[in-house]
Amino acid sequence: MKKIETTLTSLKSDIAAFYKQELHHFMVMNAVEVADKIEVQWFFSDYAYLCETTCFFTLIDPAEKIPSIKDIVVSAWVAEAELVDLMNINIENTAKGFVLEPDFESGPLRKKK
């Protein structure tokens, strides 16, 4: 697995420069809690023989707003809508309520302090 660090401002340009429709496909978005911060990861994989998984990651504060990659990778809306509910983070143009019921406390995967 190849890990590439990026920042919130350069995320979209990094992914746009990397992502080629014929070569790669977007797999999933993931987030892991690292102490007070959250590490957000975007996983891509290529179609070639002996495939390589590429992971873009960045460390954010829980309250920060993450740019959406929907205009580069069309099918990313499912992953974004899921992560917003499960980790209680903010992604632009993504509403809550896709996974959990509205009356449910969001962010069940966050550690209880």
């Binding site: 959990l100 019921e101 449910f104 069940p108």
Partner: protein
Amino acid sequence: MKLASYRKKSPWILHYNAGGCNGCDIEILACLSPKYDIERFGMINTGNPKQSDILLVTGPVTKRNRERLVEIYAQMPEPKVVIACGACASTGGVFRGMYNCEGGIDQYIPVDVYVCGCGTRPEQIIDGVVQALAILETKTKELEESVRLKKEAVKEKQQLNRRNIADEIKPAFT
């Protein structure tokens, strides 16, 4: 000829997955297939709650499914029998205590037959359904008796009941 005898010979099944892993659902599908052939009991899998007599539920109840489950149960006409298929439908199974799950469907609707196993074998499902047929028969009888007003009316102190004044009600058939 009475409707009850038809119902016993040909109960229609409604299947709902309330959040399980699909394992029990494909075994229910296997029951319909030629090897196990549940149709020899006259059973047909139907999609309409208003036409069905037996509700087969699989899976622990997830939060988004609970209203749907109660709604489907409420839409079925009396008499009706509920079968909980599999360990998670009976008690919650391995999913018991997960944040979006409830433990078992009997927290929301009354269950008549519990079928064990993870996943349930087709033989067990058929056995459960045959037991449900006997329950369906007793339920039908109870329902018909209450319609004929054979039972004595409820009597409480200080209550002026119409039946205290009126004649004694004779059983409809003797």
